[in-house]
Amino acid sequence: MQFGIMSVSDITRDPVSGYTPSEAERIDAIVKIAKHAEEVGLDVFAIGEHHNPPFFSSSPTTLLAHIAAITERLILTTSTTLITTNDPVRLAEEYAMLQHLSKGRMDLMLGRGNTAPVYPWFGQDIRQGLHLALENYNLLHRLWREDVVDWEGKFRTSLQGFTSTPRPLDDVPPFVWHGSIRTPEIAEQAAYYGNGYFANNIFWPKEHYRRLIDYYRKRFEHYGHGTGKQAIVGLGGQAFIAKSSQEAHAQFRPYFDEAPVYGNGPAMEDFEEMTPLSVGSPQEVIDKTLTFREAFGDYQRQLFLMDHAGLPLKTVLEQLDLLGEHVVPVLRKELEAKRDPEAPANPPSHADLVKAKYGDDEPRQPRPNANRGDNVTGGSPYQDSEAEVSAYPTL
């Protein structure tokens, strides 16, 4: 079981001090937060993608590559990467590059994005959001698995003899999660490809997406990737931890009450009652988190939202200390003890995927042929591929 944090990258005024960090301050802070996540023993750091203020994370692979360079074992991922407004060709290239630089310590989670005005900035239309997500992933999937791709779809220019570079690390594509809480088609796509399925587990009553997780498990089995229990499920969640329940409520309340997403709406206690939010002592957070497994079955990754709503850096780092010292070790032990042996303990790592593809053999390391200007006239541009019609005799 992996534990980590996910950030939305919001730059929010601290309602207690009245201070709004600059973009520069918040970007520095997120690097410290990610580094500290590793220091306190967490496994995963995830960053969102947004293209409008008050968010800073428009370029997740740049940030994650930097974090990869200053950490040792932390897995870098996204929450989420926009599979709708990004060109899948660019995603294939950028995330393969990140995979190389992080030495495989990464994966990514795909999401649609629900802010209508963002779509036209990238030449798209939110009414086609689901179509885009599905078609774009179909292409992304192939770009990481085929050296040369011919492709025709509805949404982007056709590709003739296109090679996405660099090829994935060890020629093993990054592991992909599909994030959704209400769309059966996304669960279907995750299942079809044997990819992971992630429910953000923040807002809705859990019954809504429990059914989708069940559906994903059923379809994962249907498509022959293993049993439903072997499907790879990840969950979000949010917590605020303090020594005592009272202290946690008192500290978090001003941030909850003015949080960008649910502020000025529900009372915090109602929200705790109706959603996965836990505010309390380490034991209370542990107890609530353990209910997730009861609802959704054994799962492989738990991400907490901890750096949002204007919480100052100092508080976020303290939260990570509490999470890493008092909550996660207990959850690891308890969840491992309860886990059905049939269910995987972790999502597949790069090493697992290499092993699955090559066994004990050496992984493929693609070396390009000399430049010939395009890929249209021949087979693979790599030396180890079979020469199909690589050259005609010349005079």
């Binding site: 086609q128 179909n138 509805k154 949404f155 059966p184 079809y192 709406g265």
Partner: protein, 236 residues
């Protein structure tokens, strides 16, 4: 399809906020006529009243986060089993009250498809008389519910006018006839799929997943290139 011996389940939604409330009073008068008219035709009626005033504490959360508190949930459960609905609102500032509209805006889109609904409103002046037909009726049209032809409206002077009783009897009769017809149940059993649905759009009951669609084929590695698609950028 319709069980002709089972009692009708009537749900009365009243948005009156004073106590006593003339809106609730109008709803009650209609309710007792519906019960009597059903009895004349050999059917019992079980009545559940949803007094929206009691849901007020849960309304901000429901509106801002789509999270339903326990009282909201009970109201939704009652409506999802209803054979007929009476919906009564006070008119404020030339419109049905915010509480009334908010309640129905929070409900899942599919919850009331095909359900017969008698609409009623009260107001301090006859100048609000068209609110029922021009505003409330369109809300229920959006929900694909089936409002009865006779709308009820009572302003101050109507309470002393026998004509109101005549309209109440007429609306009650219409509602009973529509409940008796089993229209809503027949729609659910025979033509439910012809309405637009989304996953979970019927208070947690709309959960069928059809894998025989263009989108599902696309999800499973297929292509839209040869499909008829309303969003096709090349033909739009």
């Amino acid at each position: 399809m319709t069980d002709t011996t089972e009692a009708f389940r009537l749900v009365v939604v009243s948005a009156g906020v004073s106590d006593p409330s003339s809106t609730r009073m109008l709803a009650d008068r209609l309710t007792s006529r519906v019960v009597a008219a059903a009895k004349e035709r050999g059917r019992e009626t079980t009545v559940t009243v949803v007094d929206l005033r009691e849901l007020l504490p849960e309304l901000p959360t429901a509106l801002s986060s789509q999270l339903l508190g326990p009282r909201f949930q009970r109201a939704v459960d009652a409506l999802s089993e209803a054979d007929g609905v009476i919906a009564a609102a006070p008119v404020y500032k030339a419109g049905a009250s915010g509480l009334f509209t908010s309640f129905f805006q929070v409900l899942d889109n599919d919850l009331l498809i095909g359900r017969p609904v008698a609409l009623a409103a009260t107001a301090g002046t006859a100048r609000h008389a068209l609110v029922v037909d021009e505003e409330m009726r369109s809300l229920f049209a959006y929900l694909r519910a089936l409002p009865v032809p006779t709308s009820l409206f009572a302003s101050t002077e109507d309470w002393a006018d026998d004509a109101l009783n005549g309209r109440l009897d007429r609306a009650a009769h219409e509602l009973v006839l529509l409940m008796e017809s089993g229209f809503a149940r027949a729609v659910r059993n025979e033509s439910w799929k012809r309405y637009q649905h989304t996953f979970g759009s019927d208070a947690g009951r709309e959960l069928g997943i059809d894998t025989d669609t263009d989108l599902m084929r696309l999800a499973a590695g297929g292509s839209l290139v040869d499909s008829e698609d309303p969003f096709d950028p090349r033909t739009a």
